[in-house]
Symmetry: C2
Subunit: 349 residues, 2 copies
DNA sequence: AGATAATCCGTGAGCGCTCACGGCTCACGG
DNA sequence: CCGTGAGCCGTGAGCGCTCACGGATTATCT
C-alpha cells in the first residue's frame, strides 16, 4: 500500500543529472540552462514527481504554511473571516491550517501548540480567549502573529505582532445616532454577553451617542443577553414590558435583533412604527427577515484578508530583503482598524 | 529573528542522555525507565522543547495531517460539514488543512496537488467538481480518500475510497409527498442549477412522488434557477405567473424558497394559504423567516463527521493492526448514505 | 595568446527526527 | 561460576530536500 513515492533522486537518475539540478529546475532559480530545465521538468512530470514539502521544510526551515485560529467555522462571522484569510494566503502562495477552538481557551492553547510543532511560518489568531500573559507567550514562541479583534499591549511596533480591529465603538455610536436622528429619545440596548469585549465597546459607543444627544439615558435601558436569537427574544420581552417608554432598540448583533423582532410580534408592537430596531454584523439573515433589519455592516471578509496580508508582509520582510519603502509604506506590525458601516433598511428607516 | 529552536539534541545533551532516549520519553513507547522518562520530560518542558512535526514526518512518512477540500467555507452548508470533519479529525489526533476551491475545478486540482506535496495522510473531498477521470487519478495518488456527495464508479470496496452521500432522492420524495398529503394536486419545482447533481436527484424524488400519487405531472411545472435568493425570486415569479394552477412549490434549497417567499409577496399570494412552500437543507435562516419554512433537514455536521471517521478508519487499518472485527463491523471503504428529515413549519403545514 | 569572468552543473554536509540494531547492566537459575 | 534473558539505553544510517561550496566548460576582454 505504501508504494514508494518518486523522489528527487529518482528524477535525477532518470534525467542523468544531479539532484541539485533537478532542484534548480523545479524551483526556477537560475544557474541552469533553459534546455536542461525543460527536459528535467518534462521527465519529472512524466514520472508524476511531487516534491516533498516535508523534506523541503526541514531543509529550508520554512513551510509555506500558515495557521488560522478561530473560535468556530460554523459561525458565519468567522467563516467569512476564514474565507478572507484563506484567499489571501493562497494568493501569497501559502496553505493555511484552519483550527477551531470551540471558544475553549484550553483547546486554543493546544491548537497553538500543534501549530508550533508544525513549524508554521505564521499565525492569524481571531478573538483569542487567552489572557494577556498566555497570549504574550504564544506570540513569543510563534515566528509571526497577527491578532484579529484582540489587542495586546504594549502594541509597540517592535514586538512583532500585527493587529486588525473592528471599530466597535464607532459602530455602536453610529447605530444609536441613527436612531436619535430619526427622532427617538428613549433607545434601549440589548448588550449581548457580559464577557464580550466587542459588546463593551459597542456599549461605549451607545452611551457616547446618547450623551452627545442629551438623551435622558438610563442604565435600566441596557440589559445583557446571550448572543443568539433566543437570548434576544427573552431579553427584548423583558425589557420592553418593563420599560414602556422605549421606542427603539439597539441590538448587540443581528441574531439578537431577530429575537427582538419576535418579542415585538409577541407583544403586538409593530416594527418600525411602534418600535425601531437596529442590529449589528449584517449577516445574510438581516436582509431576509421581515421587516429587513437596519444594521451595522462589518467587513468580515476584509478583516480576514487584511490580517493575512499583514501576516504575509511580516513574513516577507524577514526572509526576503527589506521592502523598498522601508517602513513608511507599510509597517507589518501596525494596527489596522476597520470601520463598520450603517446600512439602513425597514426596521429603522 | 530566527532564533534557533531547541532540538531533541539539545534536550538530550541537557539531560545527559541520547536523542533516542528523549524520543522514547516524549513518544511514550516503552524501553525507558519511568524515572528517566519523567526527568527528560521535565527538562524538555523547562527548555520549551517542541518536537518538529516536520522532521518527524520525514522520518516516519506519516504527518498526522489530513486535508479537507470544500467549495467554500463561507457557505453555511460546507462550514457545517467542515466543522464536523475538523472535530472528528481533531479527536483522532489529526490536524486538518482546510482548502477552498471556490467551485473552480482548476483550483481544486491545484489544492489537491499541494495536499499531495504536503504528504497528508488522507483527504476528505466534498462535492468535487472534477470529472471521473481526474477524480480517479487524484484518488490513485493520494494515500486515502473519502468522497462526500460525489460517487465514483466502480465503488468496489477495494479501490480504497470511502463515500458519504446524502439521499437526495428520498429528500425530494418526502418533501413532495408532504405537499401531496396536504391535498395539493399541482406542485411545482424550482430545480436549482442544471449542473447540480443533487438537484437532479431531488428532481427524481419529486417526479417519483408525483407519479406515485397519480398527479397530473407536467414538465412545465419544473424550472431551473440559480441557487440563491434572487434566483428563487425570479424563477418563482416566472413560474407562478405562467402557471396559475400551481398551489404548492418544492424548492431546491432554502435560499431559493426564501426567494419564492418574496415572489409571493410581490404577487400578493399568501403563504401557506394561497401557496405552500417547502425548502431543502434546513439552514438557520429557514426557521427565522416569516412564515418559517417547512424544509428537509440535512445532517451537515454528520456528513463531515462521518466522512472523517471513515477516513480515520481507512488510515488506521493500514498502519496499526487489523481491527478486531475484521470487516463485518466497519468496512472503511464503504458507502454511507445519510437520510434527510422533513421538518414541518408554517410554510407548508 | 593568456587571463578573467560568466554560465552551468555536481558534491558533501546537514536540517531534526525515527528505525533497526546492538551493547550494557543486573538479576536469576543451573 | 557462567549463561540467559529481561530491561534500559546508545549508535549509525537514512527520510528527501536545500545550501554553500567548488569544478568544468565556454564566452569575453586586454
Amino acid at each position: 500500500m505504501d508504494r514508494k513515492r518518486t523522489t528527487i533522486e529518482d528524477v535525477a537518475r532518470a534525467a542523468g543529472v544531479s539532484r541539485q539540478t533537478v532542484s534548480r529546475a523545479i524551483n526556477d532559480l537560475g544557474e541552469i540552462s533553459p534546455r536542461t530545465r525543460a527536459r528535467v521538468l518534462r521527465i519529472a512530470e512524466e514520472m508524476g514527481y511531487r516534491p516533498s514539502s516535508i523534506a523541503r521544510g526541514l531543509a529550508t526551515r520554512r513551510t509555506r504554511t500558515l495557521g488560522l485560529v478561530i473560535p468556530d467555522v460554523a459561525n458565519p462571522f468567522f467563516s467569512d473571516v476564514a474565507r478572507g484569510a484563506e484567499h489571501e494566503g493562497y494568493a501569497g502562495g501559502y496553505n493555511v491550517f484552519l483550527c477551531n477552538t470551540d471558544e475553549d481557551p484550553e483547546r486554543e492553547l493546544a491548537v497553538l501548540r500543534s501549530l508550533e510543532e508544525k513549524r508554521v511560518d505564521g499565525v492569524v489568531l481571531c478573538s483569542s480567549r487567552l489572557d494577556d500573559d498566555e497570549l504574550r507567550q504564544v506570540v513569543a514562541r510563534q515566528s509571526a502573529v497577527v491578532l484579529v479583534n484582540r489587542r495586546l499591549e504594549p502594541a509597540r511596533a517592535e514586538n512583532g505582532v500585527g493587529t486588525v480591529m473592528l471599530d466597535d465603538v464607532a459602530g455602536g455610536r453610529m447605530a444609536t445616532q441613527h436612531l436619535v436622528d430619526s427622532g427617538h429619545r428613549a433607545v434601549g440596548f440589548l448588550a449581548g454577553p457580559l464577557a464580550s469585549r466587542s459588546g463593551r465597546s459597542r456599549a461605549g459607543g451607545y452611551r457616547a451617542a446618547c450623551a452627545a444627544a442629551d438623551l435622558p439615558y438610563s442604565p435600566a435601558w441596557t440589559i445583557p443577553c446571550p448572543a443568539g436569537v433566543d437570548g434576544g427574544h427573552q431579553a427584548a420581552r423583558d425589557l420592553l414590558t418593563a420599560r414602556l417608554e422605549l421606542t427603539a432598540l439597539f441590538c448587540y448583533n443581528d441574531l439578537v435583533a431577530v429575537g427582538a423582532l419576535r418579542a415585538c410580534a409577541d407583544l403586538g408592537r409593530q416594527v418600525p412604527d411602534d418600535l425601531a430596531l437596529v442590529g449589528f454584523d449584517d449577516i445574510m439573515l438581516a436582509a431576509l427577515v421581515t421587516p429587513p433589519l437596519t444594521t451595522c455592516h462589518v467587513p468580515r471578509y476584509e478583516l480576514g484578508a487584511q490580517a493575512m496580508r499583514l501576516l504575509l508582509n511580516q513574513i516577507g520582510d524577514c526572509s526576503k530583503e527589506a521592502n523598498q519603502n522601508s517602513e513608511a509604506e507599510q509597517n507589518p506590525c501596525a494596527e489596522i482598524v476597520l470601520r463598520p458601516e450603517l446600512v439602513v433598511r425597514a426596521s429603522a428607516p
